[in-house]
Protein backbone atom coordinates (compact mmCIF):
# COMPACT_ATOMS: atom_id res chain seq x y z
CA UNK A 1 0.00 0.00 0.00
CA UNK A 2 1.21 3.52 -0.76
CA UNK A 3 2.39 5.82 2.02
CA UNK A 4 -0.65 8.00 1.43
CA UNK A 5 -2.87 4.92 1.55
CA UNK A 6 -1.48 3.89 4.92
CA UNK A 7 -1.83 7.42 6.27
CA UNK A 8 -5.44 7.45 5.15
CA UNK A 9 -6.02 4.09 6.81
CA UNK A 10 -4.61 5.42 10.09
CA UNK A 11 -6.74 8.57 9.85
CA UNK A 12 -9.86 6.55 9.07
CA UNK A 13 -9.16 4.12 11.91
CA UNK A 14 -8.65 7.08 14.23
CA UNK A 15 -11.97 8.57 13.21
CA UNK A 16 -13.87 5.29 13.46
CA UNK A 17 -12.16 3.59 16.35
CA UNK A 18 -10.86 6.19 18.79
CA UNK A 19 -13.97 6.66 20.93
CA UNK A 20 -14.76 2.95 20.95
CA UNK A 21 -11.20 2.20 21.97
CA UNK A 22 -11.14 4.74 24.82
CA UNK A 23 -14.59 3.59 25.95
CA UNK A 24 -13.75 -0.10 26.01
CA UNK A 25 -10.43 0.51 27.76
CA UNK A 26 -12.13 2.70 30.37
CA UNK A 27 -14.71 0.04 30.93
CA UNK A 28 -12.09 -2.68 31.30
CA UNK A 29 -9.53 -0.82 33.41
CA UNK A 30 -11.82 1.68 35.15
CA UNK A 31 -9.45 4.55 34.53
CA UNK A 32 -9.85 7.26 31.93
CA UNK A 33 -6.20 8.25 32.11
CA UNK A 34 -4.94 4.73 31.38
CA UNK A 35 -7.52 4.41 28.59
CA UNK A 36 -6.49 7.66 26.90
CA UNK A 37 -2.79 6.92 27.13
CA UNK A 38 -3.10 3.34 25.90
CA UNK A 39 -5.32 4.38 22.98
CA UNK A 40 -2.86 7.10 21.97
CA UNK A 41 0.05 4.65 22.23
CA UNK A 42 -1.76 2.08 20.09
CA UNK A 43 -2.18 4.67 17.33
CA UNK A 44 1.48 5.67 17.66
CA UNK A 45 2.44 2.02 17.14
CA UNK A 46 0.10 1.85 14.12
CA UNK A 47 1.76 4.89 12.57
CA UNK A 48 5.13 3.22 13.07
CA UNK A 49 4.26 -0.31 12.02
CA UNK A 50 1.54 -0.20 9.39
CA UNK A 51 3.75 1.31 6.65
CA UNK A 52 6.15 -1.65 7.00
CA UNK A 53 3.80 -4.48 8.07
CA UNK A 54 0.78 -3.38 6.05
CA UNK A 55 -2.62 -2.29 7.35
CA UNK A 56 -4.14 -5.18 9.34
CA UNK A 57 -7.32 -6.74 7.92
CA UNK A 58 -9.30 -5.61 10.99
CA UNK A 59 -7.72 -2.35 12.19
CA UNK A 60 -10.18 -2.03 15.08
CA UNK A 61 -9.31 -5.42 16.53
CA UNK A 62 -5.60 -4.78 16.01
CA UNK A 63 -5.83 -1.44 17.83
CA UNK A 64 -7.84 -2.97 20.68
CA UNK A 65 -5.31 -5.74 21.25
CA UNK A 66 -2.36 -3.33 21.05
CA UNK A 67 -3.99 -0.80 23.38
CA UNK A 68 -4.98 -3.48 25.90
CA UNK A 69 -1.36 -4.66 26.02
CA UNK A 70 -0.13 -1.09 26.49
CA UNK A 71 -2.58 -0.56 29.34
CA UNK A 72 -1.57 -3.80 31.04
CA UNK A 73 2.12 -2.93 30.63
CA UNK A 74 1.53 0.38 32.35
CA UNK A 75 -0.45 -1.18 35.19
CA UNK A 76 2.28 -3.80 35.66
CA UNK A 77 4.91 -1.09 35.78
CA UNK A 78 2.92 0.79 38.41
CA UNK A 79 2.07 -2.33 40.37
CA UNK A 80 5.72 -3.32 40.68
CA UNK A 81 5.98 -0.42 43.01
CA UNK A 82 3.05 -1.22 45.27
CA UNK A 83 1.46 -4.62 44.81
CA UNK A 84 2.96 -7.57 43.02
CA UNK A 85 -0.10 -9.69 43.77
CA UNK A 86 -2.38 -7.64 41.58
CA UNK A 87 -0.29 -8.49 38.55
CA UNK A 88 -1.56 -12.05 38.52
CA UNK A 89 -5.11 -10.79 38.02
CA UNK A 90 -4.25 -9.13 34.74
CA UNK A 91 -4.54 -11.34 31.71
CA UNK A 92 -4.05 -10.37 28.14
CA UNK A 93 -7.45 -10.38 26.50
CA UNK A 94 -6.96 -10.62 22.78
CA UNK A 95 -10.63 -11.08 21.90
CA UNK A 96 -11.76 -8.83 19.06
CA UNK A 97 -14.24 -6.03 19.98
CA UNK A 98 -17.89 -6.92 20.48
CA UNK A 99 -20.90 -6.23 18.23
CA UNK A 100 -21.92 -2.76 17.15
CA UNK A 101 -24.74 -2.22 19.66
CA UNK A 102 -22.47 -2.76 22.61
CA UNK A 103 -19.95 -0.35 21.11
CA UNK A 104 -22.48 2.48 20.95
CA UNK A 105 -23.47 1.82 24.55
CA UNK A 106 -19.85 2.12 25.60
CA UNK A 107 -19.47 5.36 23.72
CA UNK A 108 -22.59 6.74 25.39
CA UNK A 109 -21.19 5.94 28.81
CA UNK A 110 -18.06 7.80 27.84
CA UNK A 111 -20.05 10.86 26.70
CA UNK A 112 -22.06 11.00 29.91
CA UNK A 113 -18.92 10.74 32.02
CA UNK A 114 -17.17 13.51 30.05
CA UNK A 115 -20.29 15.72 30.29
CA UNK A 116 -20.86 15.15 34.00
CA UNK A 117 -22.48 18.12 35.79
CA UNK A 118 -19.77 18.05 38.48
CA UNK A 119 -17.29 19.26 35.84
CA UNK A 120 -17.08 22.86 34.61
CA UNK A 121 -18.54 23.54 31.17
CA UNK A 122 -15.16 24.28 29.51
CA UNK A 123 -13.84 21.07 31.04
CA UNK A 124 -16.74 19.05 29.67
CA UNK A 125 -16.14 20.42 26.19
CA UNK A 126 -12.39 19.78 26.30
CA UNK A 127 -12.81 16.30 27.77
CA UNK A 128 -15.48 15.31 25.23
CA UNK A 129 -13.33 16.52 22.35
CA UNK A 130 -10.32 14.63 23.68
CA UNK A 131 -11.88 11.37 24.83
CA UNK A 132 -14.84 11.00 22.49
CA UNK A 133 -13.89 12.92 19.37
CA UNK A 134 -10.18 12.08 19.64
CA UNK A 135 -8.88 15.60 19.08
CA UNK A 136 -5.40 16.24 20.41
CA UNK A 137 -4.71 18.80 23.11
CA UNK A 138 -3.10 21.24 20.61
CA UNK A 139 -6.16 20.89 18.33
CA UNK A 140 -8.53 21.66 21.17
CA UNK A 141 -6.38 24.60 22.25
CA UNK A 142 -6.48 25.97 18.71
CA UNK A 143 -10.22 25.48 18.38
CA UNK A 144 -10.92 27.50 21.51
CA UNK A 145 -8.03 29.98 21.32
CA UNK A 146 -6.55 28.96 24.63
CA UNK A 147 -3.07 27.89 25.69
CA UNK A 148 -2.17 24.24 25.15
CA UNK A 149 -0.90 24.00 28.71
CA UNK A 150 -4.25 25.29 29.98
CA UNK A 151 -6.18 22.64 28.02
CA UNK A 152 -3.75 19.94 29.17
CA UNK A 153 -4.11 21.00 32.79
CA UNK A 154 -7.89 21.11 32.49
CA UNK A 155 -8.05 17.58 31.13
CA UNK A 156 -5.58 16.22 33.67
CA UNK A 157 -7.51 17.81 36.53
CA UNK A 158 -10.77 16.42 35.19
CA UNK A 159 -9.39 12.90 34.95
CA UNK A 160 -8.10 13.16 38.52
CA UNK A 161 -11.47 14.40 39.78
CA UNK A 162 -13.36 11.66 37.96
CA UNK A 163 -11.14 9.12 39.66
CA UNK A 164 -10.92 10.64 43.14
CA UNK A 165 -14.60 11.60 43.45
CA UNK A 166 -15.69 8.44 41.63
CA UNK A 167 -17.74 9.98 38.89
CA UNK A 168 -19.48 6.86 37.59
CA UNK A 169 -18.81 5.48 34.14
CA UNK A 170 -22.38 4.80 33.03
CA UNK A 171 -25.45 6.07 31.27
CA UNK A 172 -27.55 7.84 33.94
CA UNK A 173 -30.64 6.18 35.37
CA UNK A 174 -34.00 6.89 33.74
CA UNK A 175 -34.89 9.41 36.45
CA UNK A 176 -31.82 11.56 35.79
CA UNK A 177 -31.61 10.98 32.07
CA UNK A 178 -33.56 13.99 30.85
CA UNK A 179 -31.53 16.48 32.88
CA UNK A 180 -28.24 14.83 32.01
CA UNK A 181 -29.11 14.65 28.32
CA UNK A 182 -29.74 18.39 28.31
CA UNK A 183 -26.24 18.90 29.74
CA UNK A 184 -24.76 16.74 26.99
CA UNK A 185 -26.68 18.70 24.33
CA UNK A 186 -25.17 21.95 25.57
CA UNK A 187 -21.68 20.49 25.10
CA UNK A 188 -22.48 19.12 21.64
CA UNK A 189 -23.99 22.44 20.56
CA UNK A 190 -20.80 24.24 21.61
CA UNK A 191 -18.67 21.74 19.69
CA UNK A 192 -20.86 22.14 16.62
CA UNK A 193 -20.79 25.93 16.76
CA UNK A 194 -17.05 25.99 17.13
CA UNK A 195 -16.82 23.80 14.04
CA UNK A 196 -19.27 25.90 12.13
CA UNK A 197 -17.68 29.24 12.90
CA UNK A 198 -14.15 28.31 13.83
CA UNK A 199 -12.14 31.04 15.51
CA UNK A 200 -8.55 32.00 14.99
CA UNK A 201 -6.39 33.32 12.20
CA UNK A 202 -5.04 30.50 10.06
CA UNK A 203 -7.93 28.22 11.07
CA UNK A 204 -10.21 26.76 8.42
CA UNK A 205 -13.38 28.84 8.55
CA UNK A 206 -15.47 25.70 8.89
CA UNK A 207 -14.06 22.75 10.82
CA UNK A 208 -15.96 19.90 9.26
CA UNK A 209 -14.42 17.39 11.68
CA UNK A 210 -16.05 19.18 14.62
CA UNK A 211 -19.47 19.61 13.02
CA UNK A 212 -19.50 16.01 11.80
CA UNK A 213 -18.50 14.68 15.22
CA UNK A 214 -21.16 16.78 16.94
CA UNK A 215 -23.80 15.42 14.55
CA UNK A 216 -22.59 11.86 15.01
CA UNK A 217 -22.78 12.13 18.80
CA UNK A 218 -26.17 13.83 18.72
CA UNK A 219 -27.49 10.94 16.61
CA UNK A 220 -26.19 8.59 19.27
CA UNK A 221 -28.00 10.50 22.01
CA UNK A 222 -31.16 10.48 19.89
CA UNK A 223 -31.01 6.70 19.67
CA UNK A 224 -30.86 6.66 23.48
CA UNK A 225 -33.67 9.20 24.00
CA UNK A 226 -35.84 9.11 20.88
CA UNK A 227 -38.77 10.80 22.64
CA UNK A 228 -36.76 13.81 23.82
CA UNK A 229 -37.90 16.81 21.77
CA UNK A 230 -34.79 18.85 22.39
CA UNK A 231 -32.53 16.06 21.16
CA UNK A 232 -34.54 15.90 17.93
CA UNK A 233 -34.51 19.71 17.80
CA UNK A 234 -30.75 19.97 18.17
CA UNK A 235 -30.16 17.26 15.59
CA UNK A 236 -32.49 19.01 13.14
CA UNK A 237 -30.79 22.34 13.80
CA UNK A 238 -27.35 20.84 13.18
CA UNK A 239 -28.47 19.08 9.99
CA UNK A 240 -30.14 22.19 8.55
CA UNK A 241 -27.05 24.23 9.37
CA UNK A 242 -24.62 21.64 8.07
CA UNK A 243 -26.66 21.42 4.84
CA UNK A 244 -25.59 24.98 4.02
CA UNK A 245 -21.95 24.44 4.89
CA UNK A 246 -20.44 24.47 1.39
CA UNK A 247 -22.57 27.42 0.27
CA UNK A 248 -21.47 29.44 3.24
CA UNK A 249 -17.87 30.11 2.27
CA UNK A 250 -16.93 31.31 -1.23
CA UNK A 251 -14.06 29.94 -3.32
CA UNK A 252 -11.98 32.90 -2.18
CA UNK A 253 -12.58 32.06 1.49
CA UNK A 254 -15.16 34.72 2.18
CA UNK A 255 -18.31 34.19 4.22
CA UNK A 256 -21.44 34.23 2.07
CA UNK A 257 -24.53 35.42 3.92
CA UNK A 258 -27.83 33.62 3.76
CA UNK A 259 -29.35 36.01 1.21
CA UNK A 260 -26.53 35.48 -1.28
CA UNK A 261 -25.92 31.78 -0.90
CA UNK A 262 -26.45 29.54 -3.93
CA UNK A 263 -29.34 27.52 -2.60
CA UNK A 264 -28.80 24.91 -5.31
CA UNK A 265 -25.66 23.78 -3.51
CA UNK A 266 -27.43 23.13 -0.22
CA UNK A 267 -27.46 19.45 0.73
CA UNK A 268 -31.00 18.31 -0.09
CA UNK A 269 -30.75 15.05 1.85
CA UNK A 270 -29.71 16.78 5.08
CA UNK A 271 -32.46 19.38 4.62
CA UNK A 272 -35.05 16.68 4.05
CA UNK A 273 -33.95 14.87 7.21
CA UNK A 274 -33.95 18.12 9.21
CA UNK A 275 -37.43 19.05 7.96
CA UNK A 276 -38.69 15.58 8.82
CA UNK A 277 -37.48 16.00 12.40
CA UNK A 278 -39.04 19.46 12.71
CA UNK A 279 -42.37 18.12 11.40
CA UNK A 280 -42.16 15.23 13.85
CA UNK A 281 -41.76 17.70 16.72
CA UNK A 282 -44.63 19.89 15.51
CA UNK A 283 -46.83 16.81 15.34
CA UNK A 284 -45.89 15.89 18.92
CA UNK A 285 -47.74 19.02 20.06
CA UNK A 286 -45.51 19.61 23.09
CA UNK A 287 -44.27 23.10 23.95
CA UNK A 288 -40.92 23.36 22.13
CA UNK A 289 -37.61 24.10 23.82
CA UNK A 290 -34.82 26.31 22.59
CA UNK A 291 -33.26 23.91 20.08
CA UNK A 292 -36.61 23.00 18.58
CA UNK A 293 -37.45 26.66 17.97
CA UNK A 294 -34.01 27.32 16.45
CA UNK A 295 -34.53 24.27 14.24
CA UNK A 296 -37.95 25.57 13.19
CA UNK A 297 -36.38 28.92 12.23
CA UNK A 298 -33.78 27.06 10.19
CA UNK A 299 -36.56 25.02 8.58
CA UNK A 300 -38.36 28.20 7.46
CA UNK A 301 -35.13 29.51 5.90
CA UNK A 302 -34.36 26.26 4.14
CA UNK A 303 -37.91 25.96 2.80
CA UNK A 304 -37.66 29.22 0.85
CA UNK A 305 -36.62 29.27 -2.81
CA UNK A 306 -34.74 32.53 -2.20
CA UNK A 307 -34.45 35.19 0.46
CA UNK A 308 -37.48 37.16 -0.84
CA UNK A 309 -39.67 34.08 -0.64
CA UNK A 310 -38.77 33.61 3.05
CA UNK A 311 -41.71 33.74 5.45
CA UNK A 312 -40.26 36.49 7.66
CA UNK A 313 -43.39 36.93 9.73
CA UNK A 314 -43.14 33.31 10.80
CA UNK A 315 -39.46 33.74 11.60
CA UNK A 316 -40.16 36.80 13.75
CA UNK A 317 -42.97 34.90 15.49
CA UNK A 318 -40.59 32.04 16.27
CA UNK A 319 -38.02 34.50 17.62
CA UNK A 320 -40.73 36.00 19.82
CA UNK A 321 -41.28 32.53 21.26
CA UNK A 322 -37.54 32.10 21.73
CA UNK A 323 -37.04 35.45 23.47
CA UNK A 324 -39.67 34.30 25.93
CA UNK A 325 -37.61 31.16 26.75
CA UNK A 326 -34.16 32.66 26.51
CA UNK A 327 -33.82 36.37 27.26
CA UNK A 328 -30.22 36.46 25.97
CA UNK A 329 -29.27 39.61 24.03
CA UNK A 330 -27.90 37.47 21.19
CA UNK A 331 -31.37 36.05 20.56
CA UNK A 332 -32.75 39.59 20.67
CA UNK A 333 -30.14 40.62 18.09
CA UNK A 334 -31.12 37.82 15.73
CA UNK A 335 -34.76 38.73 16.18
CA UNK A 336 -33.97 42.34 15.23
CA UNK A 337 -32.19 41.15 12.07
CA UNK A 338 -35.35 39.27 11.07
CA UNK A 339 -37.48 42.30 11.93
CA UNK A 340 -35.49 44.32 9.36
CA UNK A 341 -36.90 42.07 6.63
CA UNK A 342 -40.44 42.45 7.92
CA UNK A 343 -40.67 46.06 9.16
CA UNK A 344 -37.62 47.65 7.54
CA UNK A 345 -34.09 48.57 8.66
CA UNK A 346 -35.13 51.62 10.67
CA UNK A 347 -37.31 49.69 13.13
CA UNK A 348 -34.60 47.01 13.33
CA UNK A 349 -31.83 49.51 14.00
CA UNK A 350 -33.73 50.98 16.94
CA UNK A 351 -34.04 47.47 18.40
CA UNK A 352 -30.36 46.71 17.77
CA UNK A 353 -29.21 49.98 19.34
CA UNK A 354 -31.06 49.11 22.53
CA UNK A 355 -28.72 46.09 22.92
CA UNK A 356 -25.57 48.23 22.95
CA UNK A 357 -24.88 48.04 26.71
CA UNK A 358 -24.87 44.25 26.61
CA UNK A 359 -23.37 43.53 23.21
CA UNK A 360 -20.79 46.27 22.60
CA UNK A 361 -17.99 43.67 22.68
CA UNK A 362 -19.66 41.22 20.28
CA UNK A 363 -18.69 41.40 16.61
CA UNK A 364 -22.10 40.30 15.31
CA UNK A 365 -23.76 43.27 17.01
CA UNK A 366 -21.55 45.70 15.07
CA UNK A 367 -21.91 43.70 11.86
CA UNK A 368 -25.71 43.85 12.16
CA UNK A 369 -25.61 47.60 12.82
CA UNK A 370 -23.23 48.14 9.90
CA UNK A 371 -25.58 46.34 7.55
CA UNK A 372 -28.67 48.22 8.74
CA UNK A 373 -26.88 51.60 8.54
CA UNK A 374 -25.72 50.74 5.04
CA UNK A 375 -29.28 49.97 3.98
CA UNK A 376 -30.39 53.29 5.46
CA UNK A 377 -27.74 55.11 3.38
CA UNK A 378 -25.75 56.21 6.44
CA UNK A 379 -22.40 55.28 4.89
CA UNK A 380 -20.06 56.92 7.34
CA UNK A 381 -21.65 55.37 10.41
CA UNK A 382 -21.85 52.07 8.61
CA UNK A 383 -18.13 52.15 7.88
CA UNK A 384 -17.33 52.81 11.54
CA UNK A 385 -19.52 49.88 12.57
CA UNK A 386 -17.81 47.57 10.02
CA UNK A 387 -14.42 48.66 11.39
CA UNK A 388 -15.50 47.70 14.88
CA UNK A 389 -16.95 44.37 13.70
CA UNK A 390 -13.73 43.50 11.81
CA UNK A 391 -11.69 44.34 14.87
CA UNK A 392 -13.75 41.93 17.02
CA UNK A 393 -14.42 39.08 14.56
CA UNK A 394 -12.33 35.92 15.05
CA UNK A 395 -13.33 33.85 12.01
CA UNK A 396 -11.17 34.30 8.90
CA UNK A 397 -14.06 34.00 6.40
CA UNK A 398 -16.17 36.41 8.38
CA UNK A 399 -13.37 38.98 8.55
CA UNK A 400 -12.95 38.71 4.77
CA UNK A 401 -16.68 39.17 4.24
CA UNK A 402 -16.92 42.19 6.53
CA UNK A 403 -13.87 43.82 4.95
CA UNK A 404 -15.34 43.30 1.49
CA UNK A 405 -18.66 44.81 2.57
CA UNK A 406 -16.97 47.80 4.13
CA UNK A 407 -14.87 48.45 1.05
CA UNK A 408 -18.01 48.36 -1.12
CA UNK A 409 -19.39 51.40 0.73
CA UNK A 410 -19.40 54.56 -1.34
Amino acid sequence: MSVVGVQEAVTRAHHEEWARLVASLTSRFGDLDIAEEAAAEAFAVAVERWPADGVPPNPGAWLTITANRKAIDRIRRENKRDDKQKEAQLLYDDDPPGPRGAIDDERLRLIFTCCHPALAMETRVALTLRMVAGLTVPEIARAFLVQETAVGRRITRAKAKIKAARIPYRVPSAGDLRKRVSGVLAVLFLVFNEGYLATGPGTDPVRHDLTAEAIRLTRLIRALAPGDGEVAGLLALMLLTEARRTARVSASGELVNLAEQDRGTWDAALIAEGHRLVRERLAAGEPPGRYQILAAISAVHTSARDVRATDWSQIVALYDQLVHLDPSPIIALNRAIAVAELDGPEVALAAVDRLEPRLAGYHAYHAARADLLRRLGRGQQSRAAYDKAIELAGNTAETAYLTHRRDQLA
Binding site: H116, P117, A118, A165, R166, I167, P168, D176
Partner: protein
Protein backbone atom coordinates in the same frame (compact mmCIF):
# COMPACT_ATOMS: atom_id res chain seq x y z
CA UNK B 1 -16.75 5.16 49.27
CA UNK B 2 -17.15 8.00 51.76
CA UNK B 3 -17.87 11.64 51.04
CA UNK B 4 -17.65 14.68 53.27
CA UNK B 5 -20.67 16.93 52.74
CA UNK B 6 -19.82 20.29 54.28
CA UNK B 7 -22.57 22.72 55.12
CA UNK B 8 -21.62 26.26 54.13
CA UNK B 9 -23.32 29.22 55.69
CA UNK B 10 -22.92 32.98 55.57
CA UNK B 11 -24.28 34.09 58.94
CA UNK B 12 -23.95 33.11 62.59
CA UNK B 13 -27.62 32.18 62.84
CA UNK B 14 -28.28 28.61 63.92
CA UNK B 15 -30.75 26.24 62.31
CA UNK B 16 -34.39 27.10 63.04
CA UNK B 17 -36.59 24.47 64.75
CA UNK B 18 -38.18 23.71 61.35
CA UNK B 19 -34.75 23.24 59.77
CA UNK B 20 -33.67 21.04 62.69
CA UNK B 21 -36.73 18.84 62.27
CA UNK B 22 -36.08 18.53 58.53
CA UNK B 23 -32.43 17.61 59.17
CA UNK B 24 -33.46 14.97 61.72
CA UNK B 25 -35.89 13.41 59.27
CA UNK B 26 -33.22 13.41 56.57
CA UNK B 27 -30.71 11.82 58.95
CA UNK B 28 -33.19 9.05 59.80
CA UNK B 29 -33.46 8.33 56.11
CA UNK B 30 -29.68 8.24 55.68
CA UNK B 31 -29.49 5.67 58.46
CA UNK B 32 -32.36 3.61 57.04
CA UNK B 33 -30.83 3.57 53.54
CA UNK B 34 -27.33 2.76 54.74
CA UNK B 35 -25.68 6.08 53.80
CA UNK B 36 -25.16 7.37 57.32
CA UNK B 37 -21.62 7.48 58.72
CA UNK B 38 -21.56 10.58 60.89
CA UNK B 39 -22.88 14.13 61.05
CA UNK B 40 -22.76 17.16 63.25
CA UNK B 41 -23.49 20.86 63.54
CA UNK B 42 -20.76 23.27 64.62
CA UNK B 43 -20.78 26.27 66.95
CA UNK B 44 -19.94 29.70 65.53
CA UNK B 45 -16.44 30.19 64.04
CA UNK B 46 -15.72 32.77 66.73
CA UNK B 47 -15.62 29.87 69.22
CA UNK B 48 -12.70 28.24 67.36
CA UNK B 49 -9.09 28.02 68.53
CA UNK B 50 -6.20 27.32 66.16
CA UNK B 51 -3.30 25.27 67.48
CA UNK B 52 0.16 25.02 65.91
CA UNK B 53 2.46 22.57 67.65
CA UNK B 54 5.06 22.20 64.91
CA UNK B 55 7.54 24.26 66.90
CA UNK B 56 8.81 23.76 70.41
CA UNK B 57 5.78 25.12 72.19
CA UNK B 58 2.16 24.76 71.13
CA UNK B 59 0.77 28.09 69.90
CA UNK B 60 -2.88 28.87 70.53
CA UNK B 61 -4.68 31.46 68.46
CA UNK B 62 -8.14 32.69 69.23
CA UNK B 63 -10.61 32.47 66.32
CA UNK B 64 -10.84 30.52 63.05
CA UNK B 65 -7.74 29.85 60.88
CA UNK B 66 -9.39 31.66 58.00
CA UNK B 67 -11.50 34.79 58.16
CA UNK B 68 -14.17 34.48 55.51
CA UNK B 69 -17.69 35.52 54.69
CA UNK B 70 -18.78 31.90 54.38
CA UNK B 71 -17.80 29.17 56.75
CA UNK B 72 -18.36 25.58 57.74
CA UNK B 73 -21.55 25.30 59.80
CA UNK B 74 -21.75 21.52 59.96
CA UNK B 75 -21.12 18.37 57.97
CA UNK B 76 -22.19 14.89 57.04
CA UNK B 77 -19.96 11.96 56.30
CA UNK B 78 -21.94 9.80 53.90
CA UNK B 79 -21.38 6.42 52.39
CA UNK B 80 -22.26 6.27 48.68
CA UNK B 81 -21.22 3.99 45.82
CA UNK B 82 -20.34 6.87 43.50
CA UNK B 83 -20.53 10.63 43.00
CA UNK B 84 -23.97 10.55 41.36
CA UNK B 85 -25.48 9.05 44.50
CA UNK B 86 -23.44 11.39 46.72
CA UNK B 87 -24.59 14.43 44.72
CA UNK B 88 -28.23 13.51 44.87
CA UNK B 89 -28.02 12.91 48.64
CA UNK B 90 -26.14 16.19 49.09
CA UNK B 91 -28.77 18.01 47.03
CA UNK B 92 -31.45 16.74 49.43
CA UNK B 93 -29.25 17.61 52.38
CA UNK B 94 -28.97 21.18 51.09
CA UNK B 95 -32.75 21.40 50.82
CA UNK B 96 -33.35 19.98 54.28
CA UNK B 97 -30.81 22.13 56.14
CA UNK B 98 -31.60 25.12 53.92
CA UNK B 99 -27.94 25.90 53.24
CA UNK B 100 -25.32 25.42 50.55
CA UNK B 101 -23.25 22.24 50.75
CA UNK B 102 -19.95 21.07 49.28
CA UNK B 103 -19.23 17.43 48.43
CA UNK B 104 -15.69 16.15 48.68
CA UNK B 105 -14.49 12.56 48.47
CA UNK B 106 -12.31 11.00 51.13
CA UNK B 107 -9.07 9.48 49.86
Amino acid sequence: MQYLVSVIHDSASLATPEEMAAIDAFNDRLVAEGHWVFAGGLAAPSSATVIDNRGEEPMFTDGPFLESKEYLAGFWVMDAPDLDVALSLAAEGSKHCNRKVEVRPFL
